[in-house]
């Protein structure tokens, strides 16, 4: 294909037509949009398209290279799966929100300048918040506002960075920033990106908001925001040590919280932080192998994490709860959901033959080859926690464990199909990693890497098996508890509380005092002022106007007396006047 059609166009323009279609035609239409976008991406040629000079800025809408290609590939594929999962949703607005959301992330992926990045960045935030609000629970409404607050804050960091960067360099081009040349501007941009990647300590919005989203909305959300952020980090900031360290911290942080969490979708959210941590660390290590690993892991992660959210979402939809302490014994009623979930669970845990094994190991190997043994060990520790929470604890307490007495049905067919297709893809990537490796930005490094090497197999199998042993030894201690856990959202929740207190105490009392002052002093002065004008109006203006009127009336009265209607009198007066005029003329 020589011409470039921006895949985001399908979603953004396509969203407007969703309400037009009804019934099965709507379903076909909803599927056709991501399918068309996916085919467009697959047939793309490398190059720079859509260059526009706008107000002196060089806007680039379509930069297609090996890095943007792999992300666009998985984003459009994921959009297709997400649409299948959400086909039963009747509300058009939910589909529209997710289409704008996907369109935003594709816009960022192909953007070649910071202005375009920023516009699509904000579009993602404002479209995705509706996926939270549409759940229509009071908790969702509140969580949505907190989500928006954090993303607006991140967007402002990014915008400030972009402006400073432009002031310093005179360029809006979104390219790799060398570590040596990075100053305040560049680190502001990095912080803006890092917030969306849920980098510790800017991560709390994620486990706060995602568990409150709609069942189908969460499936979209878990895929796009953080992975778009991984893409922009890989584009702008490869090789930054701070990312290698913070990424590894994220991997540990996420699994630690997931160990003690009770809500299924919150456990999975903490594992997004953990898994994105691997990608951020891969970007930070910055070697070809590690960057390939970050991209491969983003690809694999989008699929298996969506699968996990689909499985947990099915339970939430069919039982009405996602709290592990209220669940249990569902394997008799939702066995297919269990099987698909477990495929996701062992994919994220990195079981051989499943996708996580061939992608995560690339980053771990990247850390090892770049001589970061500490990072490597910590990443492997995190993979212990991953299998523990996502692979064992969650499915055990939801589908097995004590019998909760719940007897739900399997979810609708479209949801099962979406899970089935995703499960197949996780398996396909695991057994035939070439399909994934061929998409990676550094082809040679990818071709040289062999995940099924014996030491790696041995290491993985041992870690997983003995994690399982540890789980069953301490099963009693892992009982889910109907509690919530403090995280960094405490700070901004308290900040908001503090602001409300300040508002109530000071701003409101000032407002109140001002109102009082106005009522007592201002109003009186106003009344006096108005009274004066009323007086002036009545006696001054009215007086003049009225007197003119009275004068006219009186004059009219006098004239009326003269106008007797008697022709003789008129003639006499007329003759008298004529004589007077002649007399005057004569004497002058």
């Amino acid at each position: 294909m020589d011409k470039f059609i921006h895949p985001a166009l399908f979603f953004i323009l396509g969203a407007f037509l969703i309400p037009v279609f009804k019934g099965w035609l709507k379903k076909v239409y909803l599927l056709a949009i991501p399918a068309a976008a996916f085919l467009t991406v697959v047939n793309m040629n490398i190059g720079v398209y859509g260059e526009i000079n706008y107000l002196g800025f060089n806007i680039i809408l379509g930069r297609v290279d090996s890095l943007s290609y792999v992300f666009a590939h998985v984003f459009t594929l994921m959009a297709f799966i997400g649409v299948i999962y959400g086909l039963h949703v009747k509300e058009d607005a939910q589909h529209i929100a997710s289409f704008f959301y996907v369109g935003g992330s594709l816009g960022v992926v192909f953007a070649g300048d910071y202005l375009t990045v920023f516009i699509f960045w904000e579009m993602m935030a404002f479209a995705s918040v509706f996926l939270i609000w549409f759940r229509r629970e009071p908790a969702s409404i509140k969580a949505g506002f907190r989500y928006l607050l954090m993303h607006v804050f991140g967007g402002l960091l990014l915008l400030a960075g972009i402006f400073l960067h432009y002031k310093n360099t005179g360029s809006m081009a979104f390219v790799m920033i060398p570590k040596a040349g990075a100053g305040v501007a560049e680190y502001l941009i990095l912080a803006g990106f890092a917030l969306n990647a849920a980098v510790f300590p800017l991560h709390a919005w994620l486990p706060d908001a995602y568990p409150e989203a709609t069942v189908t909305g969460a499936v979209f959300m878990c895929a796009f925001t953080t992975k778009t952020a991984v893409y922009v980090l890989a584009r702008g900031f490869p090789g930054y040590d701070v990312l290698a360290i913070m990424g590894t911290v994220m991997t540990i942080y996420g699994v630690c919280y997931a160990t003690i969490e009770n809500d299924m979708r919150r456990i999975l959210s903490y594992h997004i932080i953990s898994q994105v941590g691997y990608m951020v660390a891969g970007v930070g290590i910055g070697t070809e192998l590690a960057l390939n690993g970050a991209c491969a892991h983003a690809y694999a992660h989008i699929l298996y994490k969506a699968l996990l959210f689909m499985g947990a979402g099915s339970i939430l939809m069919m039982t009405g709860t996602s709290k592990l302490n209220k669940l249990g014994g569902l394997y008799k009623y939702m066995p297919l959901s269990l099987i698909f979930y477990v495929v996701g669970g062992i994919s994220i845990s990195g079981f051989p033959l499943f996708s996580g094994f061939v992608s995560k190991s690339m980053i771990v190997a990247g850390a090892e080859h770049a001589h970061h043994p500490v990072l490597m060990i910590l990443m492997l520790l995190a993979s212990v926690g991953t299998f523990l929470s996502v692979g064992l604890k969650l499915p055990y307490f939801a589908w097995f464990g004590k019998d909760s007495g719940l007897k739900p049905k399997e979810p609708p067919k479209n949801m099962l199909w979406a899970m089935g297709i995703t499960s197949f893809l996780c398996f396909l990537i695991g057994v035939y990693p070439k399909v994934l490796y061929d998409l990676l930005p550094f082809k040679e490094a990818a071709a040289e890497y062999h995940p099924y090497a014996l030491p790696h197999l041995s290491e993985t199998i041992q870690i997983l098996l003995f994690t399982g042993l540890g789980f069953f030894l301490l099963l009693k201690r892992l009982q889910p508890e109907a509690k919530i856990n403090l995280d960094f959202d405490w700070f901004y929740r308290k900040l908001v509380d503090g602001f409300m207190w300040f508002d109530n105490k000071f701003i409101q009392s000032f407002d109140f005092g001002w109102g009082e002052l106005y009522r007592s002093l201002g109003l009186k002065a106003m009344m006096a002022f108005a009274g004066f004008f009323a007086w002036f109006d009545r006696w001054g203006i009215d007086g003049v106007v009225d007197n003119v009127a009275y004068g006219t009336q009186e004059f009219g009265n006098q004239v009326r007396k003269v106008q007797t209607g008697n022709i003789q009198n008129y003639l006499a007066v007329a003759l008298l006047v004529i004589f007077v005029i002649i007399g005057v003329y004569w004497f002058l």
Partner: protein
């Protein structure tokens, strides 16, 4: 097809399943002793090459993770569900 049947079958044979898993664990440790490791003088490379190293690592990490996090949860982190109102 009732997909719950094979799962029920496994549940009905938990004991056998347990023994199979123990055997697989033992096999995994033996396997780690048999595979060739690249010769290295680096102490880190040497340590992770010890047969069964990752088994011990996995088990200890798992236990520590549960113990430490549950301890932290019960002392500091865990709050009632209506904590934020």
């Amino acid at each position: 097809m009732n997909w719950a049947t094979p799962i029920q079958y496994l549940r009905d044979h938990l004991k056998a399943l347990k023994w199979i898993l123990y055997l697989v664990m033992a096999a995994a440790v033996i396997f780690s002793a048999l595979i060739p490791h690249p010769e290295s003088h680096d102490p880190f490379e040497k340590t992770i090459g010890i047969p069964g190293f990752w088994s011990v690592f996995g088990l200890i990490c798992c236990i520590l993770l549960i113990r430490i996090m549950k301890g932290l949860a019960h002392t500091v982190l865990m709050k009632k569900e209506d904590f934020y109102g």
